[in-house]
Amino acid sequence: MKPALRIHALNTVLDTPRGMVRAVDDVGFELRPGECFALVGESGSGKSMTALSIMRLLPEAGRIVGGEVDLDGLDLLGLPEAAMRSVRGRRIAMIFQEPSTALNPVLSVGRQIVEVMERHTELSREEAKRKALELLRSVGIPDAERRFEQYPFELSGGLKQRAMIAGALAVDPEVLIADEPTTALDVTIQAQILELLARLLRERGMALLLITHDLGIVARMAHRVAVMYAGEIVEIAEREAFMRAPQHPYSQKLFAALPSPRRRAGELAVIQGQVPPLTQEFRACRFAERCDQAFDRCRIEAPAMLEARPGQLARCHLREAGPAAPRAQSLGSHESIKTASGEGNVLLRIRDLQVHFPIRRGLLKRTVGYVRAVDGVSFELRAGRTLALVGESGSGKTTTGKAILQLIAPTAGSVRFADTELTTLSRAEIRPRRSAMQIIFQDPYGSLNPRMRVLEILLEGMRSLGIGRDEAERTARITRLLGEVGLPAEALGRYPHEFSGGQRQRIAIARALAVEPKLIVCDEPTSALDVSVQAQILNLLRALQQRLGIAYLFITHNIAVVEYLAHEVAVMYQGKIVEHGDVDRVLGAPAHPYTRELLAAVPTID
């Protein structure tokens, strides 16, 4: 079949103060009509830069230094900007990760779609409107006439992404580029959007370039897959072949790092080290430093793309010796998690916890109603165990976690921590008890003060809560802690911006551990991290639990993480717990319809 879009030897660089970053290095692939081509990789691998290079929408510091982008015989890189403008949106359309910022907030949804049509076609206003309504219906927006007149803020995230897709499809583009189109959405909405994209692909026969970091989405959507690492494609294959037997050690590691119930007994595979800085010119294999299977040749000679099996290429010297074996399908048995000593006593007992936020209106700020963020939640957590709180955004998981720590005052209900009722205590009375319960946040960039050194960050809590007799004792304790979370001792004198996301999350964990807590509320601690880094953090959390007997309240939307880490799981929906029980029971035989829907929506790789 003739490809719709062919990319050949694309090279894009970014000029930064640290030097020239080779963000996209000799990337080539082709998109075929009616096919979904997935570009997979971790953050910084150059997937988005590839997409932006195709559209010629690079940031100011970026420039394309070589290659070809061939759209059905038309070389896009050679076009003048004016001609390129009639290609964008008309022949290649793009949808972005964050639907809330990709739509113009002051124009109605319909107006934005009609605008695309007016720009690229000769349709009259009336015809354009009719076609836009048709599009809105075809992307599954109910009550299209009303939505047409509405503004983006009146639409939910899923509807906004549908409207974005409708806008992208307005003039029947040949190629659609979707850059992480569902990352900002809940898992049930994600399933709907993926379903929609798959349907549109079948019906319209366009080519879809799907950029994602989620192998589950790849397994569900893609026909062919390319894995990017450090700016280049390391593996390119048909979906089935790739899922069965990934040929590049990096791809193999990505699969091994995914948490799943089968790996519950052991540790997750991690990829040591970090992506090498792309400012250098590579002469050897880029992955060699982090690869278990590397040998001498890998550090001297850069491997070429080798055809390990028909249609499956990998950039690895090992493939000269033949294709790699298929992925091990069953590693271990469904063992239950080993638990630490000291487990048993009920540490935390929540009864009918409610958090209502008043809605205030008018000049005098009268309360006209309440948002029932948490509406009668009850559970118990034993020492040394992990309870996963699962749910979609807005279900009240985080609010529950913060209300337990009394960071948000609960409206009603009881929080008993180690036989003390917390809700009736004053701020001063809670203070001495704060050391027993700590919190780890989602965003490793927002959770550390950029103006404080790591030492000061770690000392702050200890000083405030009077842990340790003097500075010497505290510093000694901190040095030990750093070893425990796997950071070098010289990290103490540095500032947070000098660390990667995973290392920052380790600092945040060390900060919580510094005050010897018995309970840590983990608020989505791995959702901002790449898969391989997520594996490191999950391993660390589990090792700490086994050694120190800490109980975790693990707030997450990632079911795979729950299966790997948790003993019990509670599913939250609209401020209530709809199902609660042993992790095997809830995930294996869900009783509540919402739990079933949630589990069905999770894209899995098997």
């Binding site: 970014l14 930064t16 953050s43 910084g44 997937k47 988005s48 830069m49 932006l52 940031p59 100011e60 510091a61 913060k402 720590l405 960071l407 809670i430 203070r431 704060r434 319960m437 700590q438 919190i439 946040f441 989602q442 965003d443 927002g446 959770s447 550390l448 003060n449 950029p450 103006r451 404080m452 702050e460 809590g461 405030s464 809560l465 500032y495 945040a508 900060r511 005050v515």
Partner: protein, 456 residues
């Protein structure tokens, strides 16, 4: 002692401020994360050029901020050492030749004759003509020599500037070897440009009134140079009043929220809805009454004018903190939702400590940007206020009073333009340098400008 140091209030504050800035520079040089944005600022060519221009103004301003009184000849029979009632500054001393050579009235730039006809006698006959100036070009035997004399003086100035160019070149070469990332050559070139303009003016000023004279025959160049100090004081001391108010109230409103936020918001909304000039005029007129009632507080006229200037700074500060407070309130609102603040709450860290350790250091860049940007606004505000007559003491020369005087001069026939032109040129260069420098500071400190947009 042949002189008695006589520091005015504003002198003391200005020097204290200088000391505080020096301390801050020293502190920044020891903390890499504080020094880094400043290093970025000075890597920009614009910043280097503006810093040199601004530095020249600051040097003049500070030379004008060392006041003293000269000892008089001891009169026979009197006790103690009498000092002159006139308070002079180091700058006055350096510009004695400009200060003391007064003409009778207006004269045009570089003129040899007065700008008004007078009745006088030549060879016993009464003539009505433009008389020769008392000082301007007085040494010339024949007025026809004037162009040649002027050219010679400009040439001499340029010759000295060329000599300075060699020295500057050597210094730039050496500095570039030590800190190659700073655009020394741009700074050096600017300094050379300033010298090439200033030295000819200097040599001309010994014989002529380069910018002419005003109604009472005072040298306009001298007035313009004296105005620099007033501008600097208004631009910097006002921020001393404005900063603590704006920072404390803004950060508190954003962090504590609730009724504290409401109260502070009402306060600045109310303050903002009163026309600024009206408020300032009312305050200045009230202050004027107080000063006039208590003449015994002041031993000299300079002291009185100085207090008026200081109070004007305070009033300007009290009426203009609202913008900064609003900015900081928004930033503190955002910061207080950040996770490291919540983590601090989870550790039971006290509010005051969160404010000083977590919030203030993270809004510091906004404060610095606002301070540098406010400077030029305040300099212009002074000109406007003095123009409408509620600014500095009428006896003080400032850009505002010069422009105010020009109101009548522009309506006169033939027109007197040089007062306004001099005030305009000096103020324009100062404000332009401050604005461009503020832009460079913002670029250096604003994280968004620094990162650019680099998608994953």
């Amino acid at each position: 002692m042949p002189f008695l140091p006589f520091p005015l209030f504003t002198d003391v504050l200005l020097w204290l401020l200088m000391g505080a800035i020096a301390l801050y520079v020293w502190y920044c040089s020891r903390k890499p994360h504080l020094g880094a944005p400043w290093a970025r600022v000075f890597q920009s060519r614009t910043a280097a050029i503006c810093a040199v221009v601004f530095g020249c103004y600051v040097a003049i301003g500070f030379a004008d901020s060392l006041h003293f009184r000269v000892r008089l000849q001891q009169a026979a029979g009197s006790e103690g050492t009498p000092y002159s009632p006139a308070v002079l500054s180091v700058l006055d001393l350096a510009l004695t030749h400009l200060r003391e050579r007064r003409e009778r009235t207006y004269s045009a730039p570089l003129a040899t004759r007065l700008y008004a006809k007078e009745q006088f006698e030549i060879d016993g006959k009464p003539v009505r003509d433009f008389p020769r100036l008392r000082y301007g070009g007085a040494r010339l035997q024949d007025e026809a020599e004037r162009p040649r004399d002027i050219a010679a003086r400009i040439g001499l100035g340029l010759f000295v500037a060329a000599f300075a160019a060699v020295l500057i070149g050597l210094a730039v070469k050496r500095l570039r070897r030590r800190r190659p990332q700073i655009p020394w050559s741009a700074g050096g070139a600017t300094l050379l440009g300033v010298l090439a303009a200033a030295l000819p003016v200097l040599f001309l000023s010994f014989e002529y009134h380069v910018f002419g004279t005003d109604k009472v025959g005072q040298d306009v160049l001298y007035q313009a140079l004296k105005s620099i100090r007033i501008s600097l004081i208004i631009g910097t001391l006002t921020t001393l009043v404005l900063l603590p108010l704006g920072m404390a109230l803004g950060v508190m409103a954003g962090y504590f929220k609730g009724w504290i936020d409401d109260a502070i918001q009402y306060l600045y909304t109310t303050l903002n809805s009163i026309p600024g000039v009206l408020l300032i005029a009312a305050a200045v007129l009230m202050m004027q009454v107080v000063i006039d009632r208590h003449a015994e507080w002041f031993s000299t006229a300079e002291q009185r004018a100085d207090l008026r200037l200081l109070v004007l700074c305070a009033i300007l500060g009290l009426t203009s903190w609202t913008g900064l407070a609003r900015l900081l309130r928004g930033e503190a609102l955002k910061l207080s939702q950040l996770e490291y603040i919540q983590a601090a709450h989870a550790f039971g860290v006290a509010d005051t400590r969160i404010l000083t350790r977590h919030i203030l250091p993270n809004v510091a860049h906004i404060v610095i940007i606002a301070m540098v940007m406010d400077f030029s606004g305040l300099v212009l505000a002074e000109a406007v206020l003095s123009y409408v007559g509620v600014g500095v003491d009428p006896a003080t020369t400032s850009f505002g009073t010069m422009i105010n005087a020009a109101r009548l001069e522009m309506g006169r026939e033939p027109i007197v333009w040089w007062s306004l032109a001099a005030a305009f040129v000096f103020m324009f260069v100062l404000v332009l340098a401050a604005n461009l420098f503020a832009d460079a500071v913002r670029d250096g400190f604003d994280p968004r400008v620094r990162m650019g947009f680099v998608p994953a």
